[in-house]
Symmetry: C2
Subunit: 357 residues, 2 copies
Amino acid sequence: MKKTFFTPGPAALYPTVHQHLIEGLTQQLFSQSHRSATYQAIHAKAVGHVKELLGVPGNFQVFFFSSATEIWERLAQNCLDRHSLHFVNGSFSRRFFDIVTALGHAPEKVEVPWGEGVDFDPKSLTHVPDLINFTLNETSTGVRLSLDEIYQFRAKYPEALVTLDMVSIAPYAAVDWSQVDAGYFSVQKCFGLPAGLGVLIAGPRAIERAAAIQASGRNVGSYHSFASLLKYAQKNQTPETPNISAVYLLGKVCEDMLSKGIEQIRAETREKADMLYDFFAQHPSYELFVKIPADRSPTVIVVNTPDDNKALLSRLAAEGLIVGNGYGPMKGKQLRIANFPAVSLEDVRRLINLLMN
Amino acid sequence: MKKTFFTPGPAALYPTVHQHLIEGLTQQLFSQSHRSATYQAIHAKAVGHVKELLGVPGNFQVFFFSSATEIWERLAQNCLDRHSLHFVNGSFSRRFFDIVTALGHAPEKVEVPWGEGVDFDPKSLTHVPDLINFTLNETSTGVRLSLDEIYQFRAKYPEALVTLDMVSIAPYAAVDWSQVDAGYFSVQKCFGLPAGLGVLIAGPRAIERAAAIQASGRNVGSYHSFASLLKYAQKNQTPETPNISAVYLLGKVCEDMLSKGIEQIRAETREKADMLYDFFAQHPSYELFVKIPADRSPTVIVVNTPDDNKALLSRLAAEGLIVGNGYGPMKGKQLRIANFPAVSLEDVRRLINLLMN
């Protein structure tokens, strides 16, 4: 039975991935040298389409990594001078904080309980941060932050770099890139690709910071230092042999999304999210985990289940619907439903129908 | 026209890759959670088959990275205490030295000209090394080292970890793992997979060294520290969302190679290599780059071309044969011919026929 995945990553593949992959195999693209003109064209197309889809200005760079997890490490090495500030409201916002700590820094966090937004008015920060990370969409809790509040907070620390974790909300989020120094995501969420590629969009202030940190003599890593990435990006290449098939698929799927139109994708996302939130709000047995409507993610919908969710998940799986479990401590107690572009209106209707009974 | 790739990475895909990839798509494996039992089975199969194919003892670990380039960085972070020693005889043996340098260490190298083996009797080492790297097969020059000489050299520095770059010669090389602490390769060479996965086989002494370095408080990276990799490997998982399709394909292709038999693969490799070396040795216009027969790689055959190779490479490409160019300073002056398992005897005959005229 063909399954329908509502899991928030790895997730349902975008409907065109299958044909693009076969086309790439048929064209023998994955045997091409990563220094060839063929690869450079694949790379340039992926970078160009990502920038167009996300409205990224020309003076921003797009760098490829193997995962968003790697991006956290590289940001900490290349962009964090002394003190980073992390708004922690779930597992993934927390993980960047943990990686910065593991690398020997002393980051600061402003933490709120799971299911809440973030405290944009922290009373006592120990340090003036030089890097501030916001997890725009907490995949573990289904909380989405307000971009406007992020921009306002930023104004308090004009020297700090602002990095935006867009892992489970790009390309839905309409980011004003003049307010942000870096944004990043991995491709196995909203882009519906097989896992194995992280994408960092880095602005001029992030690139300058990395150059200054490297010039100071600090260890910024080797092949994936920003200087190394930049040198190769200017040739539409990567320092190492990259995940060529993923870069190729990213360009192809972004092209498909551009053909459909980003506003159409956003409208469909909102329509499906509204259906799900309305259904759960009215259902007597389920409880929306995120209490404040403005905090509710359009792309990851989290609800508390009345009982242990095991029987429910099994019943859905028996019908071919694979729904995400609660994350970490919420495992067994919640459904996490990915509302990514690969999930159709029809899929959502089918899920609701099954949950209704 | 379907092309035949003789390029030493990215290289010809192993003949079964196409069908395995379609099978993986059809089974929707690439939407499965990297924490699911389905992924754990994929992971366990890849690890088990790699170990069986390469004859790796049970007490060695297999860790997945995004590239062999990443493995160099992680080895430097986790396994290098103070002084590494690098036998440099080409671009790739040199690159590990450069990465160690970029990370702030002061490595030592014993360098010989391109096309030569290595100097196993260096007269004056400044330091007693605690990590020694050998590039078993220099992809840039087509030089293969003697495993026996590596084992003999090792005996001089019993405390040093020996790491073996097997990038373009695994699984051909029959390594005695009691003599080596780590071996590594990337999958886009002899395994004939799309690029995007590096594989490290790490023995108990390498794991112990990493633990001691971490315990000393030194920065060993974050999510890809050996401790983190080990913790997840014990659950047949990875710290981050991995390149699931590549791990899946690795398991499948290793299974195919096991069915064929490693001795059969080795015999075919030797037969094809002999044909190529014999042809070039007898041809009046070509000159084998590696002078000493024992140094000649069975998997990467390098010859000097009589003139600039551009017209020749174009003529071959017009017939659908894509042959590697000389590397770095040798670009334009050489052919580098990959003799990987995906290259058939018939492919080699065709290439020789075309070069004959």
